[in-house]
């Protein structure tokens, strides 16, 4: 009986550690809403995206006609893309304790509205948004970008 209790204790500790522990380092945000055709391209594998899906560094999010997507990142920044857009979360690094980090998001085409979060608040211009012809340094907080092909 004693060994059974010990095993149960070990298992419950493990479950507890997983549930309460820090999330996997790869998660940098979450998709909060989608409308129409929204896809998530990761490691050359394209999947339809839906609310609740985790986003990781290097993910590419695309939208079709009459489509849109809203995303929050773990530094509390918020990104939302309109129709016919292609957004790549190129680089993202954030320390929740010190609130320091840096990010680079690329808008290849379409529209993106941005509300910057802790990264830009802590270090102005550590959040960058790139397009095929320019780079934006974000001091804060709300702006929008359109890129035409």
């Amino acid at each position: 009986m004693k060994w059974l209790l010990q095993i149960m204790f070990a298992v419950s500790c493990a479950v507890f550690a997983v549930a309460a522990g820090p999330i996997a380092a790869a998660q940098i945000g979450q998709i909060k809403n989608t409308a129409g055709q929204v896809f998530l391209l990761r490691n050359n594998n394209q999947q339809p995206a839906k609310a609740g899906d985790i986003v990781e560094e290097a993910d590419i999010i695309t939208t079709g006609a009459n489509s849109s997507v809203g995303i929050t990142l773990i530094d509390n920044s918020r990104l939302s893309a309109g129709p016919n857009s292609r957004i790549e979360l190129k680089q993202f690094r954030f320390n929740p304790t010190t609130q320091e980090g840096e990010s680079l998001t690329e808008v290849r085409r379409g529209t993106l509205a941005v509300v910057s979060g802790q990264i830009a608040k802590r270090s102005p211009e550590a959040m960058k948004v790139q397009t095929p012809t320019t780079i934006l340094g974000v001091r804060g907080t709300t702006f929008a970008v359109r890129v035409e092909e």
Binding site: N76, S80, T131, T133, R139, F143
Partner: protein
Amino acid sequence: MISLKRFVACTLAAGLFLCGCASVNTFVVLLPEEGGAASAVTVGEGSQRTVLDKPYSAAAVDLQRNIETKTVTAEDVKRTFAEALAAQPPPSVSFTLYFETNSVEVTPASRPALDALFAEVAKRRAVEVQVTGHTDRVGSTADNDRLSLQRAEAVRAMLIQRGVQASFLRAVGRGEREPLIPTPDEQAEPRNRRVEVIVR
């Protein structure tokens, strides 16, 4: 001859910009902040760099990376960005809950904040919750690390009871390291016995 060529090139560039046609690749506009807080975005690098620091100030960047600034209207923004702006997720909301001495019980005064937290979590889709427990400086560092995590876990358990998906619900304890009110060691301070919750 050379100056004439330049003149023609300049006229052509100006003409393209004025007619707002296909050579514009990137269009950026700074939007107003709630409460009128200061805000700015830089466009471009090096000598080309331009700063947008007034609401509705905008920059158009052409394929040759020339930057032209102008001021647009709320109507222009709506025309171009209506769908993207409509998809903006709501901002995160923070709650602070206070606790009884050496206890995982929320104080009666914090019950309304707890109810507000439950209501906020219930109305959001794909919700993420970060729960961070703290203590005052009475007791050892190790005991306070444990107590702060227990407080965070108590809040986490209440949220799970209300059906929040556990995979997006993180609880951590910060012990006595991050007091809201700095105090000498071993001093009781009710405002430091707290759990901070961020709902995103």
